[in-house]
């Protein structure tokens, strides 16, 4: 091995401890394996999003556990305990704000990560399974957002859940069962809160950890795809290991994300509305920003009526996700250069533009409601 210390240097206590562990579990080899992964064509800023997601998830888990020290998931205490965290517990406003803005950062990074993989053509053979597991992870992240939104039990939470579950009710065959199952009854109440809570803090984290582990394992099995341009000689000349250059870029990305989330938690603190009741009062219900485009879509006349609503709320998103799932199996062209894949490029631009336009029009619509 290349890292054997020269005999005349004195080993420190730390080195001795490391050697002790290394002798038993092969630590150094493991670390070397983790860090010495050739990145074809070299490290890039475009590759940071996967690591950022892992970082954001870990921070969400830490802040989430801390919030549970005070949060009580019951209909009569959820709101008060959240207000207590926000206003009375030292730095509670910060931890809750971090968790709230962390979820937004998560969604942004998921979009960026998926876009990068799509544009780089990295979902193609032999990486189809990584893409599929990634889609499942996308679903889990959305599930986190949806279930977490209810927990403060304010009006915003209550109405986003009411409408969201009504949409799930439109699933063919199992819709009614699914909606009642999630609500734990016919209307949102304590059972809904209990269910969303346990899904948010137990079911989804376990699912995410398992699938993220699988995602990484599959990624390591296939190896990084590398850039979509360049001859093998050029790629080889630029190849470096995951450590240090890519890790350096990753850690700079993490620090940036951390600083942004902290800044948002500080300058845009979480403010709860009134406690949840089935009477919305003057509140105009609206989902979290990343569901706004879907919300606005359902306002369109073309998605009116029972069938139109099914098309807008179920068929269209379902077909889109289905298309993403089969993408690596129908797109068998090994060409990865996005500039030589016009359908993929136009498709991506159209989807992003549509999401942007619908989100903005939902925001503009707000004015006309007041």
């Amino acid at each position: 091995m290349s890292h054997t210390p020269s005999p005349n240097t004195q080993t420190t206590i730390v080195e001795e401890i490391i050697d002790f562990i290394d002798e038993r579990v092969g630590l150094k080899l493991l670390v070397a394996k983790m860090l010495n992964e050739p990145v074809p064509g070299g490290s890039r800023w475009a590759y940071v999003f996967g690591s950022l997601l892992l970082f954001i998830f870990i921070m969400q888990a830490i802040t989430g556990v801390l919030l549970m020290f005070y949060y009580v998931p019951t209909a009569d205490h959820a709101y008060a305990s959240t207000q207590y965290i926000l206003h009375d517990v030292d730095y509670g406003w910060f931890l809750l704000g971090y968790h709230f803005w962390g979820s937004t950062a998560m969604v942004i990074c998921v979009f960026a990560h998926m876009s990068q993989v799509f544009l780089w053509g990295a979902y193609k053979k032999p990486r189809e399974l990584i893409w599929l597991v990634g889609l499942a992870l996308f679903g889990i992240v959305m599930g986190f957002g949806f279930t977490g939104y209810l927990l403060p039990w304010d009006q915003r939470a209550y109405w986003a859940t009411t409408v969201g579950v009504e949409i799930m009710d439109k699933t063919p065959l199992i819709g009614d069962f699914l909606a009642r199952f999630l609500k734990g009854g016919a209307t949102p109440g304590q059972m809904t809160l209990s269910r969303f809570f346990v899904i948010h803090v137990m079911v989804l984290p376990a699912a995410l950890m398992g699938l993220a582990g699988l995602h990484l394992f599959l990624f390591r099995s296939a190896g990084p795809a590398g850039p979509f341009r360049g001859t093998p000689e050029e790629l080889k000349a630029k190849t470096d290991y995951f450590f240090p250059r890519q890790i350096w870029k990753d850690i700079v990305g993490m620090a940036t994300v951390f600083a942004c989330i902290c800044a948002l938690a500080f300058w845009e603190p979480v403010v709860l509305l009134d406690e949840a009741t089935p009477d919305p009062g003057d509140y105009h219900p609206e989902p979290e920003w990343y569901f706004l485009f879907l919300f606005q879509l359902l306002r369109l006349k073309m998605f009116s009526g029972e069938f139109g609503q099914f098309v807008g709320a179920m068929l269209l998103p379902g077909a889109f996700l289905g298309l993403l799932a089969v993408l690596p199996f129908i797109d068998k062209d090994p060409e990865r250069n996005i500039f030589k894949r016009p359908v993929a490029l136009i498709g991506w631009v159209v989807v992003m533009a549509a999401i942007l336009i619908f989100t903005i029009s939902a925001i503009i619509n707000r004015e006309f409601l007041d």
Binding site: M1, S2, L29, A32, K33, M34, N36, E37, P38, P40, A75, D76, W159, T162, V163, E166, I167, D169, K170, F177, R180, F181, K183, G184, G185, A186, T187, G189, Q190, M191, R220, S221, A222, G223, P232, L235, K236, T239, Y241, T277, P278, D279, G281, H284, P285, E286, F295, L298, R299, L300, K301, F303, S304, G305, E306, G308, Q309, G312, N365, L369
Partner: protein, 310 residues
């Protein structure tokens, strides 16, 4: 054929030495160089392009021994072993091990019959553990999902609150709920009550009394077509938000849902927006003193037909 470790290396004129290391390209997984030991001098690194032929146990080079010695000596510090680096599927592409490394197959494992039987038995026992749990777990989780309807009358206020005909007036009321073992709690709800003119009444009732039936088809209550008061459930039939009585620029006074912008006229008819059916009238009765009572019902949103869920 790939060069093997320990293969003899021969130049164009004479024997040179033997292959002691193989260098692999991490991206293509192809062997790029050989390290050849030479007696009396340092090991040399030879690119594969200098190799003429590879046969079993022998690598023949294109050049003479003298030319071979022009190659740079091998620098170990420029390389890492494949144990220290993560290159997936490297073994699938390489065949450079000088031989198989073996461990003895345990005595007890030899000639075991019914290996498949044991595999299947393991799965069956697993199913015996899992299957009996499926139904209890499902029933456990389903406990609160379906509950009977409450057809009791609730007092919600006095008609004196209604100032104009054919205009929506919100009546807020509290409803007691009891969930699971929890103490009884009150939730705030609301309905929209209308003092309707005959024209609007006609649109709502279409000349017929409106009957409300329970699950068994027994009539609970009948809204008479000539009673001028109508109560609409506060839940928008589109996706369940709360709608309001609002002034609309073009359509005048309407019921408008701020969620997906469904618009209904005073009779509950859909004027615009995505709603699949009109607003849901509730059973209503007015006492001689003007006290309004309703039966609190909720219907599934987003469907063309009414399905009661509360």
């Amino acid at each position: 054929m790939q060069p093997k470790l320990k293969s003899k290396v021969r130049g164009a004129d004479q024997e040179i030495g033997e292959v002691i290391k193989v260098i692999v390209d991490p991206l293509s997984h192809e062997i790029s160089d050989l390290v050849v030991s030479v007696s009396g001098t340092e090991d040399r690194q030879v690119p594969m392009c200098a190799v003429e032929t590879v046969t079993d146990g022998l690598v023949e080079l294109r050049m003479s021994r003298a030319d071979f010695l022009e190659f740079a000596p091998f620098k170990r510090e420029d390389y890492v072993t494949t144990h220290e680096v993560e290159i997936p599927h490297l073994e699938d592409h390489l065949d450079v091990t000088p031989g198989e490394v073996l461990v003895p197959f345990p005595e007890l494992e030899r000639n075991v019959k019914r290996r498949t039987f044991f595999t299947n038995l393991t799965h069956v026992i697993g199913l015996f553990i899992g299957l009996p749990l499926a139904f209890p777990v499902l029933k456990y989780l389903m406990k609160p999902m379906y509950s009977p309807f409450d057809n009791g009358w609730l007092k919600i206020g006095n008609v004196g609150k209604i100032k104009a005909d054919d205009a929506g007036t919100q009546f807020k009321y509290k409803r007691k709920v009891k969930e699971a073992y929890l103490p009884e709690a009150e939730i705030e709800k609301n309905v929209w009550v209308l003092k309707a003119t005959p024209a609007v009444l006609e649109k709502v009732y279409q000349g017929k009394d409106m009957e409300f039936r329970d699950a068994l088809g027994k009539t609970i209550w009948t809204n008479k077509k000539d009673v001028p008061y109508i109560a609409f459930s506060g839940k928008c039939p589109h996706l369940g938000c709360g709608f309001k009585w609002r002034q609309h620029k073009v359509l005048g006074q309407v019921f408008l849902c701020p969620c997906h912008l469904s618009i209904y006229d005073a009779s509950g008819k859909v004027l615009d927006g995505p709603a699949p059916r009109p607003l849901d009238p509730l059973p209503i009765q007015i006492s001689a003193s003007g006290e309004v009572q309703i039966i609190d019902m909720e219907f599934k949103a987003g469907t063309k037909s009414q399905t009661r869920i509360v």
